[in-house]
């Protein structure tokens, strides 16, 4: 029986991390060289973990499925990165950042973790500046900030609409430095197929070399998963097409608990679906809501061109419903509000599934140049994709699957329920509760990797200094390799008629309809049934072309989609179990009269962590109660 111990240190909130840090055990430099650490994933959290651990002197092996760490999807984060620097003198502080995150997450995150994330945010900015990340600056040469959804201060550092790219490239540069030094060995074009556990500890991974199809064994004293979120489960999402859940899912099947799987953020401002062949939805940064105003026509079935609709006939519904935060309400609120308007028949565009995001007023007030400086690349991107010039007419936007707050359950040390298996960044569940605020994912990922994991992993590894290098010719590795090969063989041998992508599309549609922005018990039950049926069909009908021992993109996809069925089912199970609405999780049955989310703190102020229980079986739920000692649980109001 698994007992969840969050290992939150005692003491006042503000001192917890500092005191705890000092109490963590250390590994001496001579021993660090003898300790191997595997890091899977090279996005912001993986690359920062690997480089920080490399700097410390551990022998690090880092894996990514792309051809280079620089491609990881952190690269696509647009708007910015939060830090409690209070450079604007607007009353910001670590506490306020903490509070905004806790409230933004609808009180479903751990106080201690969130406070720590806020605390290290300032170091992250310092470190990025030192790494040569060209953040936006004002004329005095100081760093500039802007505001973001869900907060009333300006604490978001940015580099035009490419902040993620700049942070990732900065982190990749620090990783490159370690690769050059030889402390980090880079393994690119590898998919992690399985986790290897020896004597109850994570000791290695099985990978597939994507170019040769070769199945490889890699061992280490500890394994860090930095494998991102599972938002591509919806098929259409703002994520990269390669983003997947398979590594985290393999760990889950081996015993790591999976927390809050139903907490998936639907981002309010994405370019809407334009055609049936669409393979992804492109995000338009939340920062656009700083200057853009969201509206729909006041009349149903409005056929006029948006520029021809007079001011009086426009419904700025976010400003109307949430006067205090206006267009800057948190993402979940903005998404549902858009859905509500579209469902009520006020949506625009051919499909009626989009709303306007208008910059007319901002351009008039600040001039085109100022808007171009802030959002130039986003406007260009929009123009390229839609053929519409947003300087001249409003953008059309609609919500799309984006970020997963849920993920592998970790304790305060960022360790999962499997000893020696750590999880950082989006792949863990820890800091965002039921809804993530904009610009806090870059913050959390780099905080985890640069400033938290290097300390906490040392405490674990201090016990491992006597463990010799783990051999890979032991039965545990053999068994894991054999299972991975069998799985591939099974996928290849179905030899049906339908493409992997067609299944992924259908699964995505099921989840979007039944476990998307608005959920209901009936819908979720139906969803689970549909997933089961689709999965059966998949294993009878799927066609994986090519060969297993070759570069085979179809096999890569098939492997991932096969896992998505199980992920999707768990999402539905969790959504069904959580009989309340909170953050991104909105159950039709639980709403206020004004249609806002109705939380149930009495019964659901806990983290739901699931234990794998065999294929197709309902997973076993473990609850980690959330204790709030520093904030008062209130209805989250942005009115």
């Amino acid at each position: 029986m698994i007992k969840l111990d969050s290992k939150i240190p005692k003491g006042p909130l503000a001192d917890k991390w500092n005191n705890y840090k000092s109490s963590l055990r250390l590994v001496n430099p001579a021993n660090k060289k003898k300790l191997d650490v595997i890091v899977v994933g090279t996005g912001l959290s993986g690359a920062s973990s690997a480089s920080a651990l490399g700097e410390l002197g551990y022998n690090v092996k880092v894996f990514c499925f792309q051809d280079s760490p620089r491609r990881a999807h952190s690269v696509a984060a647009q708007g910015g990165i939060n830090a409690a620097k209070n450079y604007k003198n607007d009353g910001d502080s670590v506490y306020r950042l903490f509070f905004d995150m806790i409230k933004g997450g609808d009180f479903r995150a751990r106080e201690a973790n969130v406070y720590r994330a806020a605390e290290v945010s300032n170091y992250v900015i310092d470190h990025f500046a030192a790494l040569g990340v060209p953040f936006a600056r004002d004329y005095g040469g100081m760093l500039d900030t802007r505001s973001f959804g869900g907060v009333q201060v300006s604490r978001t550092f940015y580099a035009k609409g490419q902040t993620g790219q700049q942070c990732l490239l900065g982190t990749y540069s620090s990783l490159s430095r370690q690769i050059a030094k030889g402390t980090v060995t880079m393994y690119e074009r590898r998919d992690m197929l399985d986790l290897v556990i020896v004597d109850d500890k994570a000791r290695g991974i099985i990978t597939r070399n994507l170019l040769t199809g070769e199945i490889e064994r890699h061992s280490a004293h500890a394994v860090v998963l930095a494998t991102g979120g599972y938002g591509t489960v919806f098929y259409l999402s703002t994520l990269a097409l390669g983003s997947n859940a398979s590594a985290a899912w393999a760990a889950h099947k081996k015993g790591a608990l999976f927390a809050n799987p139903s907490f998936i953020q639907i981002h309010p401002t994405s370019i809407p679906v334009l055609n049936d062949y669409q393979s992804k939805l492109t995000l338009m940064s939340e920062s656009l809501r700083n200057d853009g105003r969201v509206w729909v026509p006041k009349e149903k079935d409005e056929k006029r061109h948006p520029n021809q609709i007079p001011e009086a006939e426009r419904d700025y519904y976010l400003e109307r419903r949430y006067p205090a935060f206006g267009n800057l309400v948190p993402r979940d609120v903005a998404s549902r509000a858009a859905k509500e308007r579209c469902d009520a028949g006020y949506g625009v565009g051919d499909t009626g599934l989009s709303v306007y995001l208008d910059f007319k007023d901002a351009i008039e007030k600040q001039g085109k140049k100022a808007i171009e400086d802030k959002y130039g690349n986003l406007f260009e991107m929009y123009l390229k994709i839609t053929g519409i010039n947003p300087y001249e007419e409003p953008m059309r936007i609609y919500p799309a699957g984006h970020y997963t707050m849920g993920g592998l359950w970790v304790d305060y040390n960022l360790m999962t329920t499997i000893p020696g298996l750590f999880s950082v960044g989006e792949s863990n569940f820890s800091d965002h509760g039921a809804n993530r605020l904009g610009a806090s994912s870059l913050m959390q990922c780099s905080g985890d990797g640069y400033f938290i994991l290097p300390y906490t992993i040392g405490d674990y590894l201090a016990d491992e200094i006597k463990t010799p290098r783990i051999k890979t010719d032991i039965p545990e590795f053999e068994k894991a390799e054999k299972e991975a090969k069998e799985r591939i063989e099974k996928l290849m041998s179905v030899n049906g008629k339908q493409t992997v992508t067609s299944f992924h599309k259908r699964l995505g549609k099921i989840l979007w309809d039944h476990c998307g922005m608005v959920r209901s018990a009936g819908g979720l039950k139906k969803g689970i049934q549909m997933i089961d049926d689709l999965e059966d069909e998949f294993w009878k009908e799927v066609k994986v072309s090519g060969m297993a021992n070759d570069y085979n993109q179809e096999l890569e996809k098939a492997f991932r989609v096969a896992d998505f069925f199980e992920v999707g089912r768990l999402m539905c199970q969790d959504a069904l179990d959580r009989n309340e609405s909170c953050g991104a999780h909105f159950r039709e049955e639980y709403q206020t009269e004004q249609g806002e989310a109705k939380r149930n703190d009495k019964e659901f102020a806990h983290v739901s962590a699931y234990e794998y229980n065999g294929n197709r079986k309902e997973e076993i739920l473990h609850k980690e109660p959330l204790v709030f000692e520093n904030v008062e649980l209130k209805e989250r109001s942005y009115k």
Binding site: A129, S173, Y277
Partner: protein
């Protein structure tokens, strides 16, 4: 829309490739170029063939994975646009589209349209970083940086590492890629400290991994999806000169 697609097919690095021609019907002008290839692949798979391999990931023009040589231009006919952002409405109906991989000794073909761009990574590993340890740094605002300089460093830093500059260059030179990194750091005070060693090491590695020499034709700038200017190449030349001339003997 209907297109004749002439696509380079090559099983792996060690066998010779050749062009195959496919006719693709019912293409929507709203499709992106990669969606069009997805659509083609769906038909190839359904008819029992091996789908065309190409690299792609974010599909929003920022990860730099995609890179296809389309009708004589890296990333196709539009400037400042990656292959994934290119849409079929840019092509004339009922025409032939010739689709080739990047061609360069430093970028050997892996399969079909996929090339090995690890030469870029080797150049970055040779010095594309600032030696700053985690935790050793000072408060970010202690070093003010002139806005224009910082913006300029950003203009260099937007490189997505797709390799279009190499593909477009008649000499297969990687000067634009390398200069973007060198310039970004040379411009910022944080990077100036080791600017001389950096430029020497990166240029040396760039030559080693098999890129061609630059002859200032500026095709790289023309076809760079992020519009990076050849002024950065000039800056790298300058940095290199000053490194060679001014560096103290060790």
């Amino acid at each position: 829309m209907e297109f004749k697609l002439k696509i380079w097919r090559q099983k792996n690095a060690s066998v010779k490739g050749k062009f195959e021609t496919y006719t693709l019907k019912d293409v929507s002008p709203e499709m992106s170029f990669l969606q069009m290839l997805d659509y083609l692949n769906q038909q190839i798979i359904e008819s029992g063939g091996d789908p065309v391999h190409f690299e792609h990931d974010c599909r929003e023009g920022i990860c730099g994975s995609c890179g296809i040589y389309i009708n004589g231009r890296p990333h196709g006919p539009l400037r400042n646009t990656t292959t994934c952002e290119l849409h079929m409405r840019e092509f004339k109906d009922n025409t032939t589209i010739v689709i080739e991989p990047w061609r360069s000794k430093a970028f050997p073909v892996i399969k079909d349209l996929v090339v090995d761009r690890s030469a870029f990574e080797k150049v970055i590993h040779a010095g594309g970083f600032i030696n700053a340890n985690t935790g050793s740094t000072q408060e970010a605002n202690n070093i003010p940086i002139n806005k224009k300089i910082s913006d300029r460093a950003f203009d260099a830093a937007v490189c997505i590492g797709c390799g279009a500059c190499v593909a477009a260059c008649k000499n297969s030179s990687a000067m634009l890629f390398v200069s973007a990194k060198v310039s970004q750091y040379a411009l910022l005070p944080q990077g100036k400290v080791e600017a001389k060693e950096r430029v020497e090491n990166m240029v040396k590695k760039m030559d080693e991994v098999g890129f061609g020499f630059c002859s200032n034709t500026y095709a790289c700038e023309f076809d760079c999806p992020k519009g990076i200017s050849v002024e950065f190449i000039a800056q790298m030349n300058r940095e290199f000169f000053s490194a060679k001339v001014c560096k103290q003997k060790s």
